[in-house]
Amino acid sequence: MATSSTTSTVYIHVIEDVINKVRDEFINNGGPGEGVLSELQAIWEMKMMQAGVICGPIDRSSAPKLAPGAPITPVHDLNVPYEGTEEYETPTAEMLFPPTPLQTPIQTPLPGSVQTPLPGSVQTPLPGSVDNSSMYNIPTGPTSEYPTPASDTGGSTEAKAGRPSPYMQPPSPWMNQRPPLDVNVAYVEGRDEADRGASHQPLTQDFFMMSSGKRKRDDFGAQYNNGGFIPQQDGAGDAPSVALQASQGYGSLGRHDMITNANIEILSHATRQAMRIPQLDGPIPDPYDDVLSTPNIYNYQGVVNEDYNIANTPAPNDLQASTPAVAPQNDAGDDDDDEPLNEDDDDDDDLDDVEQGEDMNTQHLVLAQFDKVTRTKSRWKCTLKDGIMHINNKDILFNKATGEFDF
């Protein structure tokens, strides 16, 4: 704690020092004036407090200084939407995601499911700022939100496991509210919702289009007429297991009885698996339909599949390019539209993962000056000074540091 308070003190000193020393530039020579300078200081300090590197109480001492000089209120107004992207997106997404405000009970589970995809999508447009928030906000405020994206793969299982039971209730109101919905309409709506945030949703729909094309369209029509919303959730869960269940349902029993049960199962499956499955799932349908006759290719897709997530698309392209037969078949496939969608989705996910991974990697950073760096065989020693370390979301300053590394 001592270090962090010292860091905070030094930071506040630096802020004041900078502000004082540039004051002349702001006031004289036709500068923008004291008000803008105060705005600068206010935003800067606010960002620092959001980042959790300066303490609120200490900052109050400088607050009265600001108060007379500057339009503080406009400053905060300006930044509320900006900083608020994380905090405000949740309610917004809530409003958007369930089309009707009736389901108050759902809103507890829904934000969770919405949050997971959304941070990713927000990070793309605002790399700099969101970097900070994702890196630094953990100590400050909404700690609960950030573990979710960070530990996406690990924590998602637990998070989703809790969801299904409350989540299963809402579909019935939705079904009742829009019984007339056509399957096509449902897809369109799903697309809209998907565009707003959940990047996995399109995959889902595509998969469904695929499967519905493969099976009897009528069955799906009758089945999913009940609730236009269901198919989207469904597709993600349309992993082999669920698909099997569903198809067994059509075959053995009367379609309508089994349908509701299947829906429920699918829903719960979907909510659990929605996050992870699409990535693994996506590439399969096309080759499955189009290239099934050429087993080699199918093997490629199946085996390399998990590697795609890591290595991104180039590898599969190379593979496919090397076998000339593949490309024409894929191009000539019925689902040209779906294909890029699927691949894009995977790419997006991969990129997000990669970016998050890189953020995680570069998250710990030491900035310093070196006095001396020596090496004896594989043993490195260095002496650093005047450093700023950002480690485990804490900022630590040092005057001197000694490093001993083995290579």
Partner: protein, 106 residues
């Protein structure tokens, strides 16, 4: 006085840079003035580190990558252990960027 732009990558520097970016984009601040502020930050941060910080840290770890380019050392450590007087931190992967201190004194 020579300064490093190194510290602009720190939390405080990034916060300042973001603030300046926003204000320049909104038109409340001219880019030239924003740069002047950044240069002043370089000076103030360097001075503050020299004069106000007394703590010492020891770093140990496995050196994954080293690089010396344009008088800047870059180390990437794995499983690094940072110790100072009252605490210690373990980090799976950390990057150290260090400029030559002699460049400042010249």
């Amino acid at each position: 006085m020579a300064t490093f732009e190194l510290y602009r990558r720190s939390t405080i520097g990034m916060c300042l840079t973001e603030t300046l970016d926003e204000m320049v984009q909104s038109g409340t601040l001219s880019p030239e003035l924003a740069i002047q502020v950044l240069v002043q930050f370089d000076k103030s941060m360097t001075e503050a580190l020299e004069s106000q910080v007394k703590s010492k840290v020891s770093i140990k770890g496995h050196l994954h990558t080293y690089r010396f380019c344009d008088n800047v050392w870059t180390f990437i450590l794995q499983d690094a252990l940072f110790k100072n007087e009252d605490s210690q931190e373990n980090v799976g992967r950390v990057k150290i960027v260090a400029c030559d201190s002699k460049l400042l004194t010249q």
